[in-house]
């Protein structure tokens, strides 16, 4: 009886020590879920979700403090992927955070630009070049279309232009075909 108890207690101690050691030795640094969510987000860093960038929004989702439908640039596709990843129900995009738009790029009217550098400071991805009192311009391939440079401009010289489709970026449309109509007698 005593032996059995001792054996069981011994096993419990050994296993407990093993588990305790493993929890320290194999501790996962950071939250892997945040990175997975962040990989789905479009990285426009536009802040439309109410957080200062995609990573903070991802962290908020991971903590359960934010809904998955607050990202207009990610659109419905993005919400679907987040729902899949987190095992949640799909929800339509929340209207208060904005609407899904086609991909845009900022264009500075260089004749109007006064060189105030406010847009360059607002750009989250450093896609605007130009020095004080010099003309600024947007490096189009780097622009994420977040619109953050538009409000700070004192002379309203920044326009958001939809990115045109080219032969290189064109996609075949999803085939829409006529199916055979089966008539029931």
């Amino acid at each position: 009886m005593i032996t059995a108890l001792l054996v069981m207690a011994g096993i419990a101690v050994v296993l407990g020590a093993l588990l305790g050691y493993a929890s320290i030795r194999f501790k996962v640094k950071g939250d892997p879920l945040v990175d997975k969510i962040d990989a789905i987000l479009p990285q426009t860093q536009c802040g439309q979700c109410g957080f200062a960038g995609c990573k903070p929004y991802a962290q908020a989702i991971a903590r359960g403090e934010a809904e998955i439908n607050q990202c207009p640039p990610g659109g419905e596709e993005g919400i679907r992927k987040l729902a899949d990843l987190l095992g949640k129900e799909f929800k339509p995009l929340s209207a208060e955070h904005g609407t899904e738009k086609p991909k845009q790029v900022a264009v500075i009217d260089e004749a109007l630009c006064i060189g105030c550098t406010l847009c360059a400071q607002a750009c989250p991805v450093d896609a605007i070049v130009g020095a004080a009192k010099q003309m600024h311009t947007v490096v189009a391939p780097l622009c994420t279309g977040c619109e953050l440079c538009v409000p700070p401009c004192p002379v309203d010289c920044i326009a958001m232009v939809p990115v045109p489709e080219t032969v290189e970026t064109w996609k075949w449309k999803y085939p829409v075909v006529q199916m055979k109509v089966v008539e029931h007698a």
């Binding site: 987000l41 479009p42 990285q43 426009t44 780097l142 080219t166 032969v167 064109w170 075949w172």
Partner: protein, 566 residues
Amino acid sequence: MLATLFKFKGGVKPASHKDESTQTPIARAPLPPLLVVPLRQSAGGTPQPLVKPGQKVLKGERIGAPEENFSSAIHAPTSGTVRAIEPRMLPHPSGLSAPCVVLEADGEERWIERVPVNYAAASPDALRDLLRDSGIVGLGGAAFPSHIKLKPGAAGRIETLIINGAECEPWISCDDMLMRERAEGIVRGAAILRHIVSADRVLVGIEDNKPQAIAALRAAAPAAGIEVVPVPTRYPAGGEKQLIRVLTGIEIPYGRLGTEFGVQCFNVGTAYSAHRAIELGEPLISRIVTLTGNVERPGNVEVPIGTPIDGLLKLVSPKADTDRFIMGGPMMGFTLPRTDLPVTKAANCILAASPALFPPQAPEMPCIRCGACTRACPAELQPHEHYWFSRAKNFGKAQEYGIFDCIECGCCAYVCPSNIRLVDYYRFAKTSMRALEREKTASDAARQRFEFRNQREEREKAEKAARLAAKTAAARQAIAGAEKPAAAVPAPAQTAEESAPALPQLDEAKKALIAAAIARAQAQKEGVQPKNIDNLAPEKQAEIREIEARRAKVREIAKTPPEEPV
């Protein structure tokens, strides 16, 4: 000598319909008054235009510079004046526009100075550059720059050079006619390509339904030691991987290049244009196009690049019931959105279609998983699986099953008993996946730039704080030193943290610091003198003097009670 031939799996045998367009010799298309030359004609970026509107150009003059080493140059197909460089609609399934050089022909056909090169004395690198600058691209339909394909592979030398004259797609006969009429040029071009890669042997693969082409090349070949091999007629024997397999038995795995296995494959038209470029000094400015299908006088014509297709169609008179035009063949071609589009380097055939020749596709029925497509697939894929994955937009799974191995030959759709337009699904899936890939790359780059920016801002903030702290510490030190000259010299490098315990002393120091700052500000204020008053009227100057006097009085009052500022 009888070469051992190998087989590729699958394939189909559609009616070839080649005799229609091989009855007459290759004709020369008349020079149109206006040519539209697209700047982007091959993979690897859009060449930059080298001409300006209004500029006069000669035939064969370079009008588009290759972008780095990845694309091929573009040349003026005739002499004339550049009218514009503007986006024009391309012969592309999208119907989108891209920059084109619009050239008005002067009808004189004045050539640039043509410099023939003795290839045997030239280095392979020089010849490759010459091919790039002559705009030589694959004329089989994909228009891939040839100089890139001629680079030696990772495995070293290309031992076998294959010249592709299979021309397996029905209706098209431009390579057939080229081989019949210009076999010598093809053989000479093949010799140049062989010299560049220093290959041991050259095999010309021709489908056995072209006996005249085989005879013509055999007659021209012995001089150069080039072997002509008839291959069984079976679509798509002219696919690059399929022809390599048939002739050498080598199977090239996904994502690898023929050069890694010591083989490389070029179209007969490419070999012929390489001969013209090197030995005659003529860049690629024309190609042979098959005009066939539902037309009165089908045939082949040599067409300057940039000729509008509707002008060409007048030569062959499409019949009244023609409902659409296909660029390329019936298996892999696409319906042209309009006919006023230019001929490009990739345009091998313009096929007039009528409901009688190409009946409208019967309605699609559900996939019954019969496996006919799998038996027909020459790339040894399982097309029905790809159909399911593409239809469900399950791209990851489609990639896992090797959708990028699909050559879009159309064999699966040809045999499908349910009339499913399988290739449309694969094209949708492939282009969508490429778009997703581009988006992923862009968002990863944006994330990196954003994180870098945040790091930079934090670093700048920290640096600024450190500078400020150092400045305050230095100021305190100076005051403490001035007030207690009798006391022992205070510790020289005393920072704010270190001096924290000496509270009363710090307060003293702080007070002194504030007093000093106030004194500085006051001195500055008093030092301010009215400016720009020299050229004013005397009464204005009097007014200013009065105001200044009032200010001085106020300052005096402010000085007398130093306590209670407000």
